[in-house]
């Protein structure tokens, strides 16, 4: 359990270090290896952030699909917001709706909330256990179930596979 946490933190820190330096000379790699091994062992002795992550090939495959779906949604909804900003009548219909998520792990909920926030048109205002309160710039369904179908499900079906 803890090996997994330390391992994933180590990989992230080491990748960050290499990208920041931009070179692959020996001193840089050795320093990076040592420092990014010490930091997770020191600070991440009891953390459980990555504990629910699945490391199967299917999960990796779905991570890539998720990134593509997310990028597509990002571009699409940015175009939508652009249309709203430019048009002189300002066609907005804002409101706060309540949606429900099936995801159990904390990290998956965090990623879901961040994805909802980064696609313009919706952003997460508050999280209460399995309910998310979402501010929606163009409310189409006030009902919990229908709003869940519109906002959450396009991301949830992939995150369900990657996390438990």
């Amino acid at each position: 359990m803890n090996i997994k946490n330390i391992g994933i933190s180590f990989l992230i820190l080491f990748g960050f270090w290499l990208l920041l330096n931009g070179t692959f000379s020996t001193p840089v790699i050795v320093t990076g290896l040592i420092v990014s091994l010490i930091i997770p062992m020191w600070f991440c002795a009891r953390c459980d952030v990555f504990a629910d992550m699945r490391l199967t090939p299917k999960a990796f495959f779905y991570t890539f699909i998720y990134l593509f779906v997310f990028g597509f949604e990002l571009v699409k909804s940015n175009l939508d917001v652009t249309r709203r900003v430019i048009s002189p009548k300002l066609p907005i219909n804002p409101g706060i709706v309540k949606v429900k998520t099936k995801l159990k792990s904390k990290m998956a909920r965090l990623i879901l909330a961040n994805s909802i926030t980064l696609t313009p048109g919706t952003f997460t205002l508050a999280i209460e256990k399995k309910y998310l309160y979402v501010h929606w710039i163009d409310v189409q369904d006030k009902d919990v179930e229908a709003a869940t179908k519109d906002i959450v499900q396009k991301f949830e079906k992939y995150l369900e596979v990657i996390y438990g």
Binding site: F16, L18, L19, L20, N21, G22, L74, N78, V81, T82, R84, V85, I86, L90, I92, N93, P94, G95, I96, V97, K98, A113, N114, T117, L118, T119, P120, G121, F123, T124, L125, A126, E128, Y133, H135, I137, V139, K142
Partner: protein, 119 residues
């Protein structure tokens, strides 16, 4: 080589147009929450595109530019979420056009229930 640079420059131009539209939304929208919708997120997208365009122009800078893109993309949703939540708790009003507010309804319920228990 030259075409690749022009493609990068055009992507950067699209990013700066997105930034301009985000700022325009910031000025035009009626209340704080809609300003967050258009303002911060369109500008995040714009900055990500601007930096992504530079990847085509300077392939040697890819590492640092990717770090910047990831950093902007991860930190900005978090900061706008925290700001919106705390502003809502502090009572920043919603616009008059708002159609539905489930959070206020649920908060009201929670405030009512403990009172009933106390009596």
């Amino acid at each position: 080589m030259e075409t690749l640079k022009i493609i990068g420059a055009v992507i950067t131009l699209m990013g700066s147009i997105a930034l301009l539209l985000g700022a325009l939304g910031l000025v035009r929208m009626p209340d704080l929450y809609n300003r967050i919708q258009t303002g911060t997120k369109a500008s995040t997208f714009g900055t990500m595109l601007t930096l992504f365009g530079l990847v085509f122009i300077f392939p040697g800078w890819t590492g640092k530019l990717i770090i910047l893109i990831l950093f902007v993309g991860i930190s900005n949703p978090v900061s706008s979420h925290v700001l919106a939540r705390n502003a809502y708790r502090a009572g920043v009003p919603l616009t008059g056009k708002t159609t539905v507010d489930r959070l206020a309804e649920d908060m009201e319920k929670k405030n009512v229930e403990p009172k009933n228990d106390a009596q």
